[in-house]
């Protein structure tokens, strides 16, 4: 109901940006690839938050998942293998108005770009990082990745990989200045959406490891979990994610976990036989690097001039009268 006094106000539920505003080019991912589910969830989060498409920047490295920015109707930066995080940091540093998202893979993040990941966590800049973990190098056609299970047969490990898989969650929980870690699975869209949404709303470096299906090179990797939902441990909490009644009928293996509890987070990740899904850790009090290094006032051309003149004056020797 609108009257002359309120007709200029937006009605609740009225969307300026429909889902189509976040749609870019047609994905070239394989049929059944988990990346498609992540794309759909991210586009829904953008619509939910009504984010102006011109204020979104999706940064990626190289790999299947790193094609992501092309498929968004936003700004995107498809950069170098392993280097998505430092590029994203540079973008965010002096542009707090931009919403920065990073799409990276298990090779991109845990292998060639691992050093940047450790330090990106330490900087704690406000961005949402999705690590699409399909346990394999897909774009380069089937090589074992750091997160591949032991015994993975691939083109570089024809007799099976010999090292145990690297655990990204244990690694992040050991990093300094940590502020947000979650784990999601591409085949549970409702939770995937909730987790990405929570990560977006968190102010700081939000890291989500997304368990992702690769029908081409890791076809059966997650089949046991899909057929037996009890293999997943759903972490629910009033400050975390919640299961809808429909989903609760399927995922009965739930645990109340307060994301503020780091000790419990380490216990779940380090000892659980089951695969946790939910928000594992969140600390909203960690300051962001871009805030700590922000200028203390607005630098107008006049102020810049004053600063520069003062700097030049420091070294200036003026002739005596």
């Amino acid at each position: 109901m609108s009257t002359r006094t309120t007709e200029f106000l937006r009605r609740s539920g009225e969307h300026d940006h429909p889902l189509e505003d976040y749609v870019g080019r047609i994905p070239r991912w394989c049929t059944g690839c988990g990346d498609n589910a992540v794309l759909a969830a991210v586009q829904k989060v953008c619509r939910e938050e009504q984010l102006p498409p011109e204020k979104l920047v999706f940064v990626s490295g190289i790999g299947c998942s790193s094609r992501f920015p092309h498929y968004m109707g936003s700004y995107g930066f498809h950069g170098l293998h392993g280097r998505a995080l430092p590029i994203a940091e540079g973008i965010k540093m002096r542009r707090p108005d931009l919403h920065v998202f990073v799409n990276t893979g298990d090779g991109d993040c845990c292998s060639i770009g691992a050093a940047h990941w450790v330090h990106a966590t330490r900087y704690n800049m406000n961005m949402t990082v999705m690590m699409h973990d399909n346990n394999i190098y897909g774009l380069t056609k089937n090589q074992a990745s750091p997160t591949s299970p032991i015994g993975t047969r691939s083109n570089t490990t024809p007799r099976g990989s010999v090292l145990p898989p690297f655990d990204p969650l244990q690694a992040t929980l050991g990093m300094s200045n940590l502020s947000f870690v979650a784990q999601a699975a591409d085949w549970i869209p409702e939770l995937l959406f909730q987790i990405i949404h929570e990560a977006f709303k968190h102010r700081g470096f939000s890291f989500i490891r997304i368990l992702q299906r690769c029908p081409e090179f890791q076809a059966n990797r997650w089949e046991p979990c899909i057929h037996d939902p009890g293999k997943l441990l759903i972490l629910t909490h009033e400050n975390g994610v919640q299961l809808s009644p429909a989903l609760a009928k399927v995922y009965k293996n739930c645990e109340q976990h307060d994301p503020a509890d780091l000790v419990d987070a380490r216990r779940i990740v380090g000892t659980s036989e089951q695969i946790p899904v939910g928000i594992i850790y969140r600390n909203s009090d960690v300051p962001c690097y871009e805030d700590l290094t922000a200028p203390d006032r607005l630098f107008t051309p006049e102020l810049v001039k004053q600063g520069l003149e003062a700097e030049l004056d420091k070294f200036t020797i003026r002739p005596r009268d």
Binding site: H70, F77, H78, R83, L85, G90, R94, L98, P301, E311
Partner: protein, 371 residues
């Protein structure tokens, strides 16, 4: 400049130490990254987002950054890279000056990655060249490598106080809507130029990529489309070249010997030339500031002298060595460039064992070549 991303490395740290405090006073920030690659990528990200950004390093770091420089060339993102050269190769002699990175600066990144390469010759030149470098980078949406060296990084020199000029300041970030039908790589057929759009501008949304791309910034699987991009990026250097003045000759316009140099050796070369000219020798010198693209008219200058000698602070094989002859001699950095560019039989003298090259040394070399 608003953002300087760096990783500690000798002798580039003297500049980043100073900037860490000075930038604070003008609203900028120095970011000490986790490594050299991250520093370059951070600067690329900032510049992409519309900020005036640079990265500063020395030889080993410059090698590490090469892949990122290729990305900036490919995606056409303005970037200034300062390489304070030191003794190489590898870790080499970190505190000793050398001019050994010129060819790396010109041709360092894989594939065809045309970059602008400039060098500073003295302390005053350091001040102004950074501004020029950034303006060129922004005008042509490309990478500008500014070469300095350890002798300048640690030197002091008085020069007239710069008078503030508003044009030095970075332009405010354009956030106005882009016209419908905008193409991110709408290459001008003559100059290769394109209009740069900054995140935040409505209607300008597109994804940059280091993959070969077409005018819409879509990944190009077609070889002809890639060729189009390569050609236009190369044309930008030609467009810049048309705006560069022919450098002036120090001494007479013709004569017996022309000494050519670049970077910090300018003072030593010109002093040596002055000395031998005082003895009546027909010797002149030429100093190159922009080394890639090279100004027009240089070939013509070289042809007006009976002999041309390049003097620089990097390795050149000596014909006095038993195994060295005209067919296997490795020339100094600029020696290679001038021979290829001008088709002149340029002789060279390179030295890596002296710091910095002294006027007396240059004078001795000139007299040897004259006799």
């Amino acid at each position: 400049m608003e953002v300087c991303a760096m990783y500690p490395i000798t002798p580039a740290t003297s500049a980043s130490h100073y900037l860490s405090e000075a930038f604070h006073k003008v609203g900028g920030v120095v970011h000490q990254a986790e490594d050299e690659i991250a520093a370059a990528a951070f600067a690329v990200g900032s510049s992409y987002a519309g900020k005036c950004a640079l990265t500063i390093t020395s030889g080993p770091g410059f090698s590490l950054k090469q892949e990122v420089l290729g990305l900036a060339v490919m995606a056409e993102i303005p970037l200034v890279v300062i390489d304070v050269q030191r003794g190489g190769p590898s870790t080499g002699q970190p505190t000793k000056p050398e001019q050994g990175d010129l060819l790396t600066a010109c041709f360092g990144s894989h594939g065809d990655a045309p970059k602008v390469v400039m060098a500073v010759s003295d302390i005053e030149d350091c001040f102004y060249s950074v501004i020029t470098a950034r303006k060129i980078a922004e005008t042509f949406n490309t990478v500008v490598v500014l070469l300095s060296d350890a002798s300048l990084a640690t030197a002091q020199q008085p020069f007239p106080r710069p008078e503030f000029c508003e044009e030095w300041l970075a332009a405010p970030i354009d956030q106005s809507p882009v016209e419908e039908g905008y193409l991110p790589y709408d290459w001008d057929p003559r100059s290769g130029q394109r209009q740069r759009v900054i995140p935040g501008q409505p209607n300008g949304m597109h994804t940059l990529t280091g993959l070969a791309h077409d005018r819409r910034s879509c990944v190009a699987y077609n070889l002809k489309v890639n060729k189009e991009g390569v050609r236009h990026r190369s044309l930008k250097l030609a467009a810049l070249q048309k705006t560069i003045r022919t450098p002036p000759v120090f001494g007479d316009d013709e004569g017996e010997l022309l000494v050519v140099g670049w970077g910090s050796t300018r003072g030593a070369i010109e002093e040596a030339v002055r000395h031998v000219r005082a003895d009546g020798h027909r010797v002149s010198s030429l100093h190159l500031k922009i080394l890639q693209p090279m100004a027009s008219g240089i070939k013509e200058i070289l042809h007006r002298f009976e002999k041309v000698l390049v003097v620089e602070n990097n390795w050149a094989d000596s014909l006095d060595d038993e195994l060295i002859d005209e067919e296997n001699r490795r020339y100094s950095n600029l020696g290679w460039l001038l021979r290829a560019r001008c088709l002149v039989d340029v002789d060279c003298w390179g030295e890596v064992g002296e710091q910095p090259i002294k006027p007396g040394t240059v004078e001795r070399v000139i007299r040897e070549r004259l006799s």
